[in-house]
């Protein structure tokens, strides 16, 4: 029978949090909502046993009390009550944990489910209908139980799959015309173009048979934009108009290889071990170990189900690291988000799109709950706000890992066993790979199977089991199940050999999956590894101890064929060469330069108000309310925190962490992101993003000589020649400045089709490139911080200031588009960085902060307000290329600039070390906690207290921070 246990809180009846959210939706009156947890157990166990379960497992006796009833619906279920349950097949981590406890207690159950119960008061039925799907549940993964229907439910398993009757299915292609081919692709959600369908038709005509559904799906996955990066590797006919009106035409074969990868090859860094090959880029850490890094984009699911999308995003990139080489240990995560401003009105929301506030909170919770449970510190990140991200927010998740040097490469041998390990396979996320290659529109919202929920504890167990096995060298190839699930993982790993897989051996979460669904399911927390028969018992023992499933599903062959079987029948037989020979597609790209005219800002006598507004701007104001929700110190390696200070907020440029407590070495991580510059020229946007990421490293004390880069492009449709033209420009910017700085890209990822349709109007995200930089420090004690250290110290500015405010924080504050985009100066940028590092290593400089959003004024204010001191600054002597106004000097975003704090007794050394570098003494640190800057005429252009700076800087996100009115009395 079905037992139901309701858990009531003793502390308080209604949740202030939910009530506030209801009011937020514009619902008047005094709405109240009370939430309680509900558990269902289907078992023959006695009521006494159920009472024991409630008491020992489900209820915290100090805080809660429980009520046990039978059946799905309680007799007192009334109007205004909602019982929310997961949709069939959605992962329910709590139910899995409960199942585990019941096994420990030796109480047999046939099914376990969880639910949330809401009791709503003071809400009209219309208000409930408005709020419920927005606040109380997400229809993509959950539903409200209909009490009348639920009363008739006799088994919880009714919610799960039905029986599956095997039937081999083929898709008639041989005689299909173009329209029919297009229909096959569309109806099957294959995202294959008609040209690609024709190539497939041709292949099967030659074989004189029709493809099975499974074969077609396999091809769709491996040829998807997500897996194959067709745009980056395809043919591009590129046209660029020059300023003089002439046009330059060229054919680009493989954009990635001809730009970013070419630069890496040219630099030929001795530190690179494996780049653009494995699941992440591998570089040298010290003589014993390598570090690796990967950053993924996870945009599309996050816009629909922020919590699940973000958690599976971080879960996926962690597995990328785990599946790099023969297994790396993740030691740091990073997360970067691009959202629409959180004050976007509800009436502005396109249909089916969640409010940015809900997306922000959902994404942060998703990263937090997954990353924290994995025991991996989330040490770096960024959040920016821009309206064009409304329908298509961007979510980037990255992970760094460390591995023994001898584990860098996989080996695949004929006869290897193919093993799937970790979570079971369900119907989760079918068509995720092809889905992420589509634009979002209203109908996307119905594609429920594309959204998944992560289960971090499953992944944590899997990580431990894999790493213990890797340490004993028990397997020799491994990869993660990401987009496309087993289909891409197994095919890619065995691509050069051949493989046979018995799909009916794959352990399933529930019955009812077809062989094709098993093959392409994107259930999370699974890895594929190849091992020998000989090592199988040792592996099985480790996986059993860690409580992780380990199943042999196939064998590596030598016939260069992918062969899939179900119930001893062959359901797919594809030539590997065909599968991995991507149809070359040709796309048109066009670039027309935008005229760059210098802004004419109104000149002011005083800029204090502008500075305070910039400090309060959401893109500048500190995101400590996010960072503090992430465990950024687990693993014990924290050296430079993402946000310092105990009692006061302290700014940080890059985060620094020791990946291995047995080594004094450390890794610094910096981020560059400036999508607004793309509106003027993506080439300079890319250059500026690289410069910013490297500046972050340098400011934290890490050298660019030991630095590496990762690129993540999030762009609109590559079928739009102008957007693709911009992408070509951005790639060239990456290549040119990677080469210039001699810092190679080692890994990357592109996400295209980031656009949204509103009333047939296409809105693309700004051309966004996230540059992640990391660098190895020889000793953690080389790390430096940004806050002012001592009164009387001098403040140097390094680097030239130019009238470059196009796309700047200040220009946007002033409502001015266009302008001159900040450009990285190839004569000075690298020298500036090298000089700064030298000065910090020698102790000439005691703190450093780079100049980015908001320019000099914001950087100086951040250094000041992160300390207990004041500052005097003077604009008259700043190095510049031209005559600039005070406003331009204060807020220009010219790259490659730093503020350095130098003790007065080191002045001579500082001058010597800065010989030949554009620099000046900007000012000094004062004991009075006043921030004053004097203009070129000697008049005070900014005058404000440190406290006031902090209020502006720290005030913006106060509604996201928790504030307690009174302390508990001691």
């Amino acid at each position: 029978m079905i037992w139901r246990i309701d858990v009531f809180s003793k502390e308080n009846g209604s949740s202030a949090d939910i009530s506030a959210q209801i009011r937020d939706m514009g619902v008047g009156g005094n709405p109240r909502a009370a939430l309680r947890k509900v558990y269902f157990l289907e078992t023959d166990a006695s009521r006494e046993d159920i009472a024991r379960v409630a008491e020992e497992v489900l209820i915290n006796p100090i805080l809660e009390r429980g009520e046990i009833t039978s059946g799905m619906v309680r007799a007192d279920h009334g109007a205004g009550e909602l019982l929310v349950m997961y949709n069939p097949g959605v992962c329910d981590p709590t139910a899995l944990s409960l199942d585990r406890a019941l096994k420990d207690m030796e109480i047999p159950v046939s099914a376990v489910r969880t639910a949330r119960h809401y009791r709503l008061e003071g809400l009209s039925p219309e208000a409930v209908a408005l709020c419920a799907p927005r606040l109380f549940y997400n229809p993509l993964i959950e539903h409200v139980v209909d009490p009348a229907a639920a009363e008739r439910v006799v088994s919880l398993n009714e919610f799960q799959g039905q029986q599956y009757r095997f039937q081999r299915r083929t898709v008639p292609l041989a005689a299909a015309d173009r329209d029919a081919l297009r229909a096959v692709s569309e109806q099957g959600c294959l995202s294959l173009s008609t040209e690609e369908m024709e190539i497939i038709q041709e292949y099967f005509r030659a074989l004189k048979r029709d493809p099975t559904d499974c074969e077609l799906e396999t091809i769709a996955v491996l040829w998807s934009e997500h897996c194959a990066h067709k745009t980056f590797r395809g043919l591009i006919e590129y046209r660029e108009r020059h300023a003089d009106g002439t046009e330059h035409k060229e054919e680009i074969r493989n954009l990635l290889k001809s730009t970013i990868m070419r630069a890496t090859r040219e630099i030929d860094s001795p530190g690179c071990v494996s780049v653009f090959e494995d699941n992440s880029g591998i570089v040298k850490f010290d003589e014993h170990s390598h570090v690796c890094c990967k950053v993924e984009t996870h945009n599309h699911p996050s816009s629909l189900e922020p919590y699940g999308g973000a958690s599976t995003g971080i879960g996926g990139v962690i597995r990328d690291i785990l599946g790099t080489g023969r297994g790396a240990r993740p030691f740091a995560n990073l997360d970067v988000f691009c959202f629409s401003p959180w004050d976007t009105g509800y009436e502005e929301l396109p249909p089916g799109i969640l409010h940015p506030k809900r997306i922000i909170q959902g994404v942060v919770r998703g990263v937090r709950d997954y990353g924290n449970r994995m025991g991996i510190p989330t040490i770096a990140g960024a959040v920016i706000f821009e309206r064009r991200f409304l329908g298509n927010p961007l979510v980037f998740c990255g992970t760094l890992g460390i591995m023994p040097a001898q584990r860098a490469f996989k080996e695949v041998r004929e006869g290897d066993l193919v093993v799937v390990c970790g979570a079971r396979t369900g119907r989760d996320g079918i068509h995720g790979a092809t889905f992420s290659s589509q634009e979002l529109d209203e109908s996307t919202v119905n594609l429920t199977s594309a959204v998944q929920i992560g289960n971090p504890i499953e992944e944590k167990k899997l990580t431990e089991a894999v790493l213990r096995s890797a340490d004993r060298d028990l397997f020799h190839a491994i990869t993660d199940c990401g987009a496309g699930g087993l289909s891409s993982a197994v095919s890619e790993l065995a691509g050069e050999h051949g493989v046979v897989v018995d799909l009916d051996k794959v352990p399933l979460k529930y019955t009812g999956l077809s062989y094709t669904e098993i093959w392409i399911s994107e259930s999370q927390e699974r890895m594929v590894l190849f091992c020998t028969e000989q090592n199988r018992p040792a592996l099985e023992e480790i996986f059993a101890e860690e409580d992780v499933e380990f199943t042999v599903i196939g064998r590596v062959t030598a016939d260069h064929t992918l062969r899939l079987r179900y119930a001893r029948e062959t359901v797919a037989e594809l030539d590997m060469e065909f599968l991995f020979t991507l149809p070359r597609i040709t796309k048109q790209a066009q670039w027309e330069p935008v005229a760059q005219t210098r802004h004419s800002f109104a000149e002011r006598a005083v800029y204090t108000g502008e500075l305070l507004d910039l400090l309060a701007a959401p893109n500048v104001a500190p995101k400590d309310w996010i960072i503090r929700q992430y465990d950024h110190e687990v693993q014990g390696g924290s050296v430079g925190k993402p946000f310092g200070g105990i009692e006061h907020p302290v700014i940080a440029d890059a985060s620094v962490v020791r990946p291995d407590l047995a080594s004094d070495r450390a890794v610094a991580v910096g981020i560059g992101l400036c999508p607004w510059y793309s509106d003027i020229d993506p080439y300079w946007m890319a250059a500026a993003a690289i410069d910013e990421a490297l500046r972050n490293l340098v400011a934290a004390g890490a050298s660019i000589e030991t630095a590496y880069l990762l690129d993540n492009f999030s762009w609109g449709s590559p079928d739009d020649p102008k957007l693709l033209g911009g992408l070509v420009r951005a790639c060239r910017g990456c290549a040119d400045f990677s080469t210039y700085f001699r810092v190679p890209f080692v890994s990357g990822k592109d996400s295209l089709y980031n656009e949204y349709l509103i009333d047939d109007r296409r809105i693309a995200v700004p051309g966004t490139l996230l540059v992640t930089a990391f660098s190895v420090l020889e000793h953690w004690n080389q790390t430096r911080s940004a806050e002012l250290k001592a009164s009387g110290n001098l403040l140097y500015i390094v680097g030239e200031t130019r009238a470059e405010l196009g796309g700047s924080e200040y220009a946007r504050q002033q409502g001015q588009a266009g302008g001159v985009v900040p450009k990285v100066d190839r004569r000075t940028a690298k020298q500036n960085m090298e000089a700064v590092i030298r000065m910090m290593r020698r102790g000439t400089a005691v703190s450093c902060h780079d100049l980015s959003e908001g320019g000099l004024a914001v950087a100086a204010a951040e250094m000041c307000t992160s300390s207990q001191f004041g500052l005097r600054g003077f604009l008259a002597e700043l190095p510049r290329d031209d005559s600039l106004s005070d406003g331009e000097l204060l807020f220009s975003e010219s790259p490659s600039r730093f503020l350095l704090e130098v003790p007065p007794q080191r002045k001579t050394e500082a001058e010597r070390e800065l010989k030949g570098i554009s620099h000046a003494v900007f000012g000094c640190v004062s004991p009075d906690r006043e921030f004053r800057v004097f203009g070129q005429n000697g008049n005070e252009v900014i005058g404000v207290t440190n406290e006031r700076l902090r209020q502006a800087w720290y005030g913006t996100f106060k509604e996201f921070r928790y504030r307690q009115e009174t302390a508990e009395a001691r």
Partner: protein, 261 residues
């Protein structure tokens, strides 16, 4: 002669601070051994250890409440061994999730295996990682074991979503009378303080408690994350003594002395 006290660090699915806790204990002079609960179940003998440590993390995901299933398994499988271990005067240390486990099982506060308090959800209703100030009351029973040589106020980080010491009735008063409160959250001068210095809204700003003997310690702050010089925020400004390491050293020295006598 090997005088490094043997410490058993028990882990299970979701435990995630065992490696750095072991590293800090090693650096403090102990001989730590990390063992999975399943492996320990095969040979549940505690006699070779002088200290047990329950490290931080999210055991079994904390899906049913912090430390709930880990506690259930301890009580189902190892209650007798734990009782004997405690009676023999050995040390027990629970950090964060480990503290939650000691509270759930009733090993704290009175080692009578009856739950008397809980670590409830933070008042802020969210996970928070931040550094806090801590002060050890002069009358604390565990002061001589764990806090020797420490100044009035030390700093350590907390990182948890459920760390609010909460009990029905006058439990905290009784703990104070019997010297069982080892750490209070406080301001930099040692006076009582509001959020965020009391990061979770704990009753009486309690951050760590011991049994009446002082030998069983549970605390929310992470001493293993305040064990090396670079852990301290702002170490670039002025070098600080990592007091978390001192706590481990004190435990090691206590065990070495007990051994000698």
């Amino acid at each position: 002669m090997n005088d490094s006290p043997a410490v058993l660090i028990l882990r299970t699915a979701g435990t995630n601070c065992e490696k750095e806790t072991a590293a800090a204990l090693s650096a403090a002079g102990a001989a730590p051994r990390v063992m999975h609960l399943h492996a320990f179940k095969k040979d549940p003998s505690l006699s070779r250890y002088q200290m047990i440590c329950f490290p931080g993390g999210f055991s079994y995901g904390d899906d049913l409440g912090a430390g709930k299933i880990f506690s259930l398994e301890l009580m189902l499988w190892f209650r007798r061994e734990l009782e004997r271990f405690i009676q023999n005067g050995r040390l027990v240390l629970g950090i964060c999730n480990g503290f939650q486990i000691l509270a759930n099982t009733g090993i704290l506060p009175d080692a009578d295996f009856r739950q008397k308090f809980t670590l409830a959800e933070n008042k802020s209703a969210r996970f928070e990682d931040r550094w806090v100030h801590l002060t050890c009351p002069a009358e604390a029973a565990g002061r001589e074991i764990w806090c020797r040589g420490m100044p009035r106020v030390i700093d350590l980080p907390v990182a948890h979503g459920e760390g609010r010491v909460y009990a029905d009735g006058p439990v905290t008063e009784r703990l104070r009378e019997r010297g069982q409160i080892l750490f209070h959250y406080c301001d930099r001068n040692g006076s009582s303080a509001a959020y965020p210095l009391n990061p979770n809204g704990s009753l009486a700003a309690v951050a760590g408690i011991t049994d009446p003997s002082g030998r069983i310690l549970g605390l929310m702050p992470h001493p293993e994350r305040g064990a090396f010089a670079h852990h301290y925020p702002g170490w670039q400004n002025e070098p600080k003594i990592p007091w978390g390491m001192q706590l481990f050293r004190n435990a090691v020295q206590y065990l070495q002395q007990v051994n000698c006598t």
